[in-house]
């Protein structure tokens, strides 16, 4: 079951959903809009490696925004802190952004229950696309879980700004 916008708003009031800052104008019929924060993250190397650190550089956007280029992955972040210990958040692009060919995540729409932080957007632009800080770029939905809950306690907890992949820090799970 997916929460309606009114349910999301009432769960924010009772602190069962974290959306901070919260603005009733960003409530949709069955989701909540997320705004684009002002920092972008880009990997220094063109060729990446999942077994090694991939150093990033960060760029601060002014009100003039920035052009996201195709052929690379650019990380962004939500202005809002998002999370819940009671519902599973799933993010989506705003359709207005998707219509410009901009992916806001790369087949990783699911957020763990118990994870609280600014969402790291995984931007992949099909054509060059100009984005601006503060624009409504994504939306988050909330889903009712079934079963006993064990809260997220992983390496991205409490994220602020765009957070690069920490995959190289993982122990290989198989030989």
């Amino acid at each position: 079951m997916i929460l309606t916008g009114l349910a999301i708003a009432s769960q924010v009031v009772t602190n069962r959903i974290d959306l901070d800052p919260f603005d009733p104008a960003q409530v949709n019929p069955n989701s909540y809009d997320l705004r684009l924060g002002d920092t972008l993250g880009l990997y220094e190397s063109h060729e990446l490696d999942t077994a090694r650190d991939n150093p990033m550089r960060y760029e601060q956007m002014g009100p003039e925004g920035a052009v996201l280029e195709p052929g690379r992955i650019t990380l962004g972040h939500s202005v809002e802190v998002v999370g819940s210990d009671h519902y599973v958040p799933i993010i989506r692009a705003k359709s207005s952004v998707a219509r410009l060919g901009l992916f806001v995540h790369v087949t990783a729409d699911l957020i763990d229950i118990g994870s609280h932080g600014q969402v790291t957007f995984q931007f992949h632009a099909v054509q060059p696309v100009h984005v601006y800080p503060g624009m409504l770029v994504a939306q988050v939905t909330f889903w009712v879980p079934r079963g006993a809950i064990t809260l997220y306690d992983g390496k991205y907890q409490g994220s602020r700004g765009p957070v690069g992949s920490q995959i190289a820090s993982e122990k290989p799970s198989r030989d």
Binding site: L48, D49, T50, T107, T120, T150, I167
Partner: protein
């Protein structure tokens, strides 16, 4: 309703969900991690045609990993055999790879009730990236359906290798046009 990690583990135990092999370390708060099999397929041709069977070339990922290149689709498989008659699987990537620009499927995340197999992964990368066989590469969620269930008996569930598109086979089926 989406199953929590604890609920997934319970349903595996009682046989309502199949994940083989299953390890409790693979459980997330609301999903289960799958791993990348060692064989990937890719087409030597840049242009693909949905109405013609394509030639696909198998590559074994060496122990030093394989650099996946942008602008082409690679077909891989999950190491795990995954399926359920009771809960709808949805297979997605994971944020640690999404942050590196690795798509694990192409907007086709939905599984069918009753399909049990090693899933074919549709891997697309935005920058060249080295991936390794056996790595944790994505996650599967399970959703409680509503309504009577007619189980999947389509052709894709019979494939557990990295299987190329059967769009051409679908295309050649007689199509009933309703005017």
């Amino acid at each position: 309703m989406i199953l929590t990690g604890n609920a997934i583990a319970h349903e595996v135990q009682v046989g309502n969900i199949v994940i083989e092999p299953f390890e409790s370390a693979g459980i997330n708060p609301n999903s289960y991690n799958y791993h990348l099999g060692s064989v990937v397929k890719t087409s030597p041709h840049l242009g693909l045609d949905a109405t013609h069977p394509e030639e696909w070339i198998c590559t074994e990922i060496p122990s030093a990993g394989l650099v996946f290149e942008p602008n082409r689709v690679y077909l891989g498989t999950t190491i795990e055999r995954i399926g359920s008659d009771k809960f709808v699987p949805s297979l997605i990537g994971r944020s640690s790879l999404g942050r590196l620009g690795v798509f694990l499927q192409i907007s086709a995340d939905l599984g069918n009730l009753g399909a049990f197999h090693n899933w074919t992964l549709e891997i697309v990368v935005t920058q060249p990236i080295r991936l390794y066989a056996g790595m944790r590469c994505g996650q599967v969620t399970f959703w409680q359906p509503e309504g009577d269930i007619a189980l999947y008996d389509g052709v894709m569930a019979r494939h557990s290798d990295a299987h190329e598109s059967i769009a051409s086979a679908i295309f050649q089926q007689p199509v009933e046009i309703i005017s």
